[in-house]
């Protein structure tokens, strides 16, 4: 398994033409496996914190972070794949990693995908940009417990 993954990821770095494809392939191939994301050590803190979050039995990374319509999913994967892997290769991204606005909207849609019935009353008032009730404004911790960033040491471990 690790062998396969490693080669998939090594493939990613080969060239602009094909890495996007490989990255997308590789992810969809094992897309329900959060380890895949965390294989990239940069994602490690998010994996750790997800494991401690209220959703770790309810949702996987892709459930929240990727769109769920067929086409949108692939576009997002290609786009993110390019950004993440170039970021990783050149180590030139902003730290702590912060979610992009575009991905925030994907995330929001995914909250609704699962929870719409419960929040109908609030979302019916409008979900245009300025009218959105962004769930994360109050439920920031659902996916990752406490804020993670570079990964904070546990409060109480000695």
């Amino acid at each position: 398994m690790t062998q396969i993954l490693t080669s998939v990821f090594v493939g990613i770095f080969i060239g602009v033409g094909i890495y996007t494809f490989h990255y997308a392939e590789g992810l969809s191939y094992v897309s329900t496996e959060p380890q895949v994301c965390a294989n990239c050590h940069i994602m490690r803190p998010q994996l750790d914190s997800w494991q401690k979050s209220s959703h770790h039995k309810a949702a996987l990374c892709v459930d929240c972070h990727l769109p769920h319509d067929f086409i949108g999913k692939y576009i997002a994967k290609a786009d993110n794949g390019r950004r993440h892997s170039t970021g990783f290769t050149f180590q030139n991204f902003h730290e702590p990693i912060t979610i992009t606005e575009k991905d925030s909207r994907i995330l929001q849609k995914n909250c609704l995908r699962c929870h719409e019935p419960m929040v109908q009353d609030l979302v019916m008032i409008g979900q245009t940009d300025s009218n959105t009730t962004y769930c994360v404004r109050c439920h920031e911790g659902v996916g990752h417990g406490e804020r993670v960033g570079l990964g904070r040491m546990d409060k109480n471990d000695k």
Binding site: C114, P117, M118, D121, L122, I125, S130, C138, H139
Partner: protein, 445 residues
């Protein structure tokens, strides 16, 4: 079991009755939205926290000016020294206004702006134009306007139609004095990092005035609906109800606005002349919106409704708790979604903030009382108006700041550092006034 709940919840907005702009009776809206209405009605329940609400068994809330006699002395010469009580739930707003002994002095019809579901009456007064109606209202006595209100049908406290557009249920503001006030703010260049829509509007062509219902984001609206009433104002017989935000929202911005104001008759603005000292002073009223604006919550996009009307789960759906009240009665919903600390710890944090503020407030009050004593003494010793001018000016400044925090209802919580800063300035001015009063002989005018 998500699936089952989906079915149960599918259509929460079946309307059983139509509601219109003229429907001020919440009961009718309650037929469509029973969950919100049920919680709305609870604002009639008496509640009490250390500093919030009213929970006595008495019919009327406790008298603030008896609990803190310095308040009474500070207001001598003004109706607030007659009767000034703890606030309580929205259900009582009209009744408490009708009953207050401040009504033993003439009050203007504009008082109703924030204590009743008033828009139909404004439209009537203005022949369909509510703004015009509001601008007329100050000329009526409270009694006359109140009578008109009651004659138009049942008179209600703040109601659904005041905050909601009836077709979509979207939030909207209605109060003309607020709209004029927020436009004054937008037209100014005062920084408003907590109201991004104002900044956006300022960058535009400004052909149309800033209007919350068009421009503000939903998050902002969750504060602005409250800012229709929980604000500092002028409301008396000399000019229309005014929200003083033309220079900004900070205590000194508002002070500057009043200082630069003149009444229509050309005289310099003041609220009342202090009975003992003769100083022409200002009165601050519940500047919740203004103080919140200076705090870290506002800057972080946390609105009044987030804390005072948190979502609550009701069966399979989540609704906004329309039992508007102290968040301390509801910490788990009001705070814990954002702050992952125990209820006890959160309560302790608020208490630490409020206790610091309370102690500093009492200290400031003592300083102001000392200053009043000093002016009394100077007067007895024969000080002239000229010789007291500086001391009186200090009183105006000190009292304005002290009152700003005393009248604000969160005991410093909405902006802890800012409140303490304001009180720090107030102490300084009061004591300087005391020095000047002692030194009246040295003041050459």
């Amino acid at each position: 079991n998500i699936h089952e709940k989906k079915i149960e919840a599918i259509n929460p907005y079946v309307r059983l009755v139509e509601v219109t702009e003229d429907d001020t009776d919440p009961e009718k809206w309650g037929i469509n939205w029973p969950r919100e209405y049920d919680s709305y009605k609870k604002t009639a329940i008496a509640t009490k926290t250390r500093f919030g609400g009213h929970g006595g068994s008495e019919a009327m809330p406790a008298e603030k000016i008896e609990r803190d006699p310095w308040l009474k002395r500070m207001f001598l010469g003004y109706a607030f020294s007659i009767d000034y009580r703890d606030r309580r739930g929205h259900a009582y707003m009209l009744e408490d206004q009708e009953k207050t002994l401040r009504q033993t002095k003439p009050q203007s019809g504009s008082c109703l702006h924030c204590h009743a579901s008033i828009m139909p009456l404004y439209r009537k007064l203005g022949n369909g134009d509510a703004t015009k109606g509001m601008e007329e209202s100050y000329k009526y006595s409270y009694q006359d306007l109140s009578k008109m209100l009651h004659e138009m049908g049942k008179a209600f406290p703040v109601s659904c139609v005041d905050c909601h557009e009836h077709k979509t249920m979207q939030l909207r503001v209605t109060r003309p004095a607020f709209i004029a006030g927020i436009q004054r703010l937008a037209d100014s260049s005062a920084p408003v990092p907590h109201l991004p829509s104002v900044d956006l509007w300022r960058q535009g062509d400004r052909k149309q005035k800033y209007h919350p219902n068009m421009d503000a984001s939903r998050t902002e609206m969750r504060a602005l609906v409250c800012a229709q009433c929980h604000v500092e104002y002028y409301c008396a017989g000399k000019q229309p109800l005014t929200f003083p935000w033309g220079d900004g929202l900070k205590v000194e911005d508002v002070e500057r606005f009043w200082n630069n104001s003149t009444f229509p008759d050309g005289t310099h603005f003041y609220d009342f002349a202090h009975e003992e000292s003769g100083a022409k002073v200002l009165k601050a009223q519940h500047p919740e919106f203004e103080l919140w604006s200076q705090g870290i919550h506002a800057r972080s996009g946390v609105a009044c409704a987030d804390c005072h009307m948190p979502y609550m789960r009701d069966g399979a759906t989540k609704v906004s708790d329309h039992w508007v009240r102290s968040p301390l009665l509801n910490i788990s919903r009001a705070c814990q979604t954002c702050h992952k600390f125990s209820e006890q710890e959160i309560a302790a944090r608020v208490d630490a903030i409020q206790e610091r503020n309370y102690q500093l407030l009492q200290r400031t009050a003592r300083a102001l009382m000392d200053q009043l004593d000093a002016i009394e003494k100077a007067k007895k010793e024969g000080a002239s108006d000229n010789q007291l001018e500086k001391a009186r000016d200090f009183q105006r400044k000190a009292q304005w700041r002290l009152d700003f925090i005393a009248a604000e209802n969160s005991m410093g919580f909405h902006a802890p550092q800012e409140s303490a800063r304001i009180l720090g300035e107030a102490v300084d001015y009061a004591r300087q006034g005391q020095v000047d009063a002692f030194n009246w002989r040295g003041v050459d005018n």
